[in-house]
Amino acid sequence: MARLSLWKEGKHTNDYRFFDRRISEFMSISGTGVLLHKYLGPMPQTQGQPDQPANTNTSELNIQDLLFLENRDRKYEPDVYRLRGVYQVTDNSFDLSQFGLFLQTGTLFITFHINDMVGQLGRKIMNGDVLELEHLLDYHTLDPDLPAALKRFFVATDCTRASEGYGPSWWPHLWRVKISPLVDSQEYKDIINKIAISDDDNRPIRDIISSYNSYIQVNDAIIEQAEQDVPASGYDLTPIYHRSGDTDTPDFAVNSYMGSSVGAPNGANVVQGISFPQNPEIGDYCLRVDYLPNRLFRYNGTRWMAIEDKVRTNLTNAAEDNRTLRNTFINNDRVFTDVRGREQPEKQNLNDILKPRAD
């Protein structure tokens, strides 16, 4: 009589299949529904570099950035796979241990039946796959105007065989996936920017599930307050009354670091233009807008005298009226015409300037 052994020299025996079917049935009966967004690979990029290949094919084997070894722009299967998984429900809490982000500490371990998973996905669940736990749908958010209940997303961060998933024949039957709460980041925009809020609302789900818009509104409010406190750099001399010796139109500006009035001193009439007006009268002001910074002149009867430069400027980054030195380099849409008559952008990266260009 042969010795009893459930291990058959590396073969999947009927014993294995028996246990595997029972475990699959158990997962089907007791598991919770998991919708899985399958990671397909990094998005193809049109301009490849040796360390950042274009990856014109879509494959999980591709790596977007070979220097930093990261896949930032991830492509996900538009179709969703419905799986069954089992996990131990735990209590989570929010973490503010480092200032700035309201993160959840909860990390879950959810197990899937390997053969069922592979049968559906074509592979095992891997890091970067996004899971939606259907039973954690939140119908009762603080905002009653939200058009839909909020879905609960996780991302797989670690995937191994589950220790409890080994059968008597020593073959593994379960896949243990460590999942962390998803964040609204570049990596997952192909999911949260592509899922519609509902059948009646085609906006992406990111609009309601992400805190991005809320924090942008907070940021905008702070900027607005800052612009009220300091509308422009330097000092506002508009409230200062200019005392002049013998004329209604003072021929001087109040001495101040980067200070100037709105218009002319004492709110006197001022003509704006790129040339001086004809037939001026003594005391007339002219703001030459072709000067940068704009320069205020006053006619003294014989010539136009410079009174002040309008050096004050909006300090908000990227504001249209931000005329700081830095901004002239960063937010620069100007072009020049080269010797071949082609328009070239003024704003160019230093490392690209002398590279050959196509005709």
Partner: protein, 478 residues
């Protein structure tokens, strides 16, 4: 009295710092449509309360925190001993404000308050600020650090306000340190988010409230107190009410002039302190009565305007006479007040009224002239008669027939004289060339128009109408 002040000085710097690092973007890779987009990075204060964080998360575990993001918070606030200056120093500024019209929400071209501002030496502090850059991959982090790092070389100016008098508003913020990553070895799979921390130093000053006072600087002295001959001011004649040794000093901060014409007072503004030797002043411009009245102050309550229509008074000082009238805002023209003069305050005539003002060189026949009654009087604008017209023939009339009668002396009068019919002939009733008259002030009413004229400095002019310069009029609210 409240022993309290708070102006958010640290808060305003923090607000400006967030503004400084706002609106940065990162470029995302191409999506499935082949589009590469820019993503703006939100910046906010990191040390938020848990309640507000929960509100922003819609009180739901399912809400997704957005990354990348930048948060900032104060890590230290310390007294900066090295920047201490004289703690008891008080800096004084003399400020002229432009008048502000709260109705239009803008400044006018008039001078408003004159202020003396006393500022106590502020107290030096240094703030240390941490800027956390939350990213989910290295490329994002480098995109942000490259953009932010390029603007601090090593410092950037920062202002908490653009108020001209705030000497503590301007400071510099310096990037002092960068902690590139919050991760430590071994790196676990727990958190996909990495935090780079930039540390900034910001020297600031904390100020106590300033003292703001009405300006005490004398801008204009109309007349000197002492007689130029050096007479003893202790003399009995040193009498403020009528002495030649002492005259009143008039302080005119607003330099407002008015012109009384008809039943209106028109406001003019003179920005110049210069008054020429002949008493004239440089050209002026029209002013707004609403703003001018506001410079006198405001009342508390619903109607804050000091000028009460029909109740408030303007007083005009004219050669020792005070002409009083009630005023009201003109319904259309803000440069005008309607002036309802109190007739009892007008100057008293010093001579009988005249029937008309006439120009003998351009005269039409009129019964008043051809058949005058006793006491008919005219003020003439051109001379009548001449010694050259006298001849020796007693049967003829010397001079113009209309002014002379046979057998009567010829009428010889000059411009500005008043002539009168005495029943037989025209005579000069007021000789404008008489040495006594030249120095006198006379008032006479024209019966034809009802206008009273004043004779002063060898000129006839309307008695109370005309320009009233600074110090020659006053405003009485009630």
């Amino acid at each position: 009295m409240d022993n309290y002040f708070y102006t958010g000085q640290v808060r305003r710097f923090l607000t400006q710092f967030i503004r400084m690092i706002s609106n940065f973007q990162i470029r995302l890779g191409r999506d499935r449509d082949g589009i590469s987009t820019l993503l703006r990075i939100p910046v906010y204060y990191g040390d938020s309360s848990r309640q507000v964080a929960a509100i922003l998360a819609k009180n739901s575990e399912n809400s997704l925190p957005a990354v990348p993001a930048m948060s900032t918070h104060i890590t230290a606030l310390r007294y900066d001993r090295a920047r201490v200056q004289n703690p008891t120093h008080v800096s004084k500024m003399q400020i002229r404000e432009r008048a502000y019209d709260p109705d239009s929400g803008s400044y006018s071209d008039l001078q408003g308050d004159l202020l003396t501002i006393e500022r106590l030496m502020p107290v030096p502090y240094t703030i240390t600020i941490a800027l956390d850059i939350w990213t989910t991959n290295t490329d994002q982090k480098l995109q942000l650090i490259e953009q932010i790092g390029a603007i601090f070389n090593p410092s950037l100016e920062i202002q908490s306000t653009d108020a001209y008098v705030d000497w503590t508003s301007l400071s510099v913020i310096t990037l002092t340190d960068i902690n590139f990553s919050s991760r430590t070895v071994p790196v676990g799979p727990e958190d996909p988010i990495d935090v780079a921390t930039l540390t900034f130093e910001l020297p600031i000053w904390l100020s106590a409230p300033a003292k703001v006072k009405r300006q005490g600087v004398i801008h204009k002295i109309i007349a000197s107190v002492y007689d130029p001959d050096g007479l003893d001011p202790k003399d009995d004649s040193f009498d403020i009410t009528g002495s030649i040794l002492a005259t009143r000093q008039i302080y005119t901060p607003t330099n407002l002039n008015l012109v009384y014409l008809g039943n209106t007072l028109k406001l003019y503004v003179n920005d110049s302190e210069i008054e020429f030797n002949d008493g004239s002043v440089p050209a002026m411009r029209e002013g707004d009565w609403h703003l001018a009245v506001r410079s006198f102050g405001e009342l508390s309550g619903a109607n804050q305007d000091l000028l009460q229509n029909g109740i408030s008074q303007i007083r005009l000082y004219n050669d020792g006479i005070v002409v009083v009238g009630t005023v009201a805002y003109h319904p259309i023209d803000p440069t005008l007040l309607i002036f309802n003069v109190d007739l009892d305050t007008l100057p008293t005539n010093t001579m009988p009224p005249i029937n008309a003002v006439i120009d003998p060189a351009n005269l039409k026949p009129n019964p008043l002239i051809t058949t005058p009654t006793l006491g008919t009087r005219f003020l003439i604008l051109n001379p009548i008669g001449s010694d050259a017209n006298t001849d020796s023939d007693p049967a003829t009339i010397d001079g113009a027939r209309i002014w002379n009668r046979l057998g009567q002396p010829q009428l010889i009068a000059v411009a500005n004289d008043i002539i009168e019919w005495d029943g037989f002939k025209w005579t000069v009733a007021f000789d404008s060339q008489d040495i006594i008259n030249i120095q006198s002030i006379q008032y006479v009413t024209n019966l034809n128009t009802g206008i009273q004229y004043k004779w002063k400095n060898q000129v006839w002019s309307k008695s109370v109408e005309g320009r009233y310069g600074v110090g020659a009029w006053s405003f009485v609210p009630t």
